[in-house]
């Protein structure tokens, strides 16, 4: 019995030394963790700036696109009126040429609509950046908690535990691997009776 107890004490002693060494090691790397995590708010800020910059740029492209779209509609209306007048005056060739110009203007109007829809990339990028910012904020909070738990004190206040980083990370991964195309969505909708 004594022999067993001695062995148990020995093992407990070994375990205690291991835990103490581990805590010392973690306490030593604490300042490095603090230093690294201090950079995270800057990274978040840069990401937020990126969102703002792409939004401003996209809005300006949209503004100019809409101006050109309105011009296209006006030019097309004017051309059509001129074509009708020329047709009544029997200027067939001139009318045909102007009709061709009108067709080109109408096609360009469609291209402008395509430019507008292509700009939706900004929304998709902004959504992912927002998720990354939330993840960075939570990683920073967890690093700070580690430092505090293992002996390096700092003045930061403890943030409420949102526990959303894992969820957002999964969503980001899902956007890469399981993002659904419109055709797949339509197939699923059809299964629910949508026609």
């Amino acid at each position: 019995m004594d022999q067993q107890a001695n062995k148990l004490y020995e093992e407990l002693g070994g375990l205690a030394r291991f835990v103490e060494n581990a805590m010392k090691t973690i306490a030593e790397v604490g300042p490095q963790i603090m230093s690294s995590s201090a950079q995270l708010p800057t990274a978040s800020s840069h990401l937020k700036d990126l969102n703002k910059m792409t939004e401003d740029g996209t809005l300006e492209v949209m503004r100019l696109t809409e101006v050109i779209q309105d011009n296209c509609v006006r030019i097309s209306k004017e051309l059509r009126a001129v074509v009708e007048t020329l047709q009544t005056m029997d200027c067939v060739t001139l009318a045909q040429r102007l009709e061709a110009v009108n067709t080109a203007v109408t096609e360009d109007d469609k291209h402008l609509t395509e430019i507008m829809t292509a700009l939706s990339f900004q929304d998709l990028v902004a959504q992912r950046v927002k998720k990354l910012v939330t993840i960075l904020d939570e990683v920073q909070r967890k690093l700070m908690e580690l430092v505090v738990v293992f002996g390096v004190r700092q003045n930061g206040k403890r943030l409420p535990d949102n526990g959303v980083a894992d969820d957002l990370l999964k969503q980001l991964e899902a956007s890469n691997s399981t993002a659904m195309k419109q055709e797949v969505a339509d197939d699923i909708l059809a299964q629910f009776g949508f026609k």
């Binding site: 507008m116 939706s120 929304d123 959504q127 993002a179 419109q182 969505a185």
Partner: protein, 126 residues
């Protein structure tokens, strides 16, 4: 019943760029009477304060999400028949099923084209 070009449409999205794109497409399709809201809560307030014929909504928004707004619309006696089209990057099967169960009228996956919007409008207002 075909869509009435003069009907008032509400576009609900927290991203100003996306609201502008949807408004632009709707204008190209002949619908110029469009209002905007930044989130589900603001959308719901506007729906209750005025008469709208159609709602186009994003899914992920602060304050109130699109799916919560959709549920609130379907639970409201005055609003429950308004067609709601979800336009969202949340394109996982579970999201789509959730939207269908909540009473969505149709669903568009971002990024999308003007043709897709026209096709969905045609299906909703046939």
């Amino acid at each position: 019943m075909p869509a009435d070009p003069s009907m008032k449409i509400l576009v609900v999205d927290d991203m100003v760029t996306m609201r502008r794109i949807i408004k632009n497409i709707l204008k190209q399709l002949g619908f110029a009477n469009v209002e905007e809201a930044e989130n589900g809560q603001e959308g719901l307030q506007k729906l209750k304060a005025d008469t709208f014929g159609f709602v186009v909504s994003d899914w992920n928004m602060p304050v109130m999400t699109g799916i919560d707004m959709l549920r609130a619309i379907r639970a409201d006696e005055k609003l429950k028949t308004i067609p709601v089209l979800m336009v969202t990057a949340e394109a996982q099967q579970s999201n789509l099923v959730e939207a269908v169960q909540a009473g969505v009228s149709n669903y568009i996956v971002k990024p999308f084209t003007a043709e897709t919007m026209q096709e969905k409008l045609g299906k909703i207002f046939k």
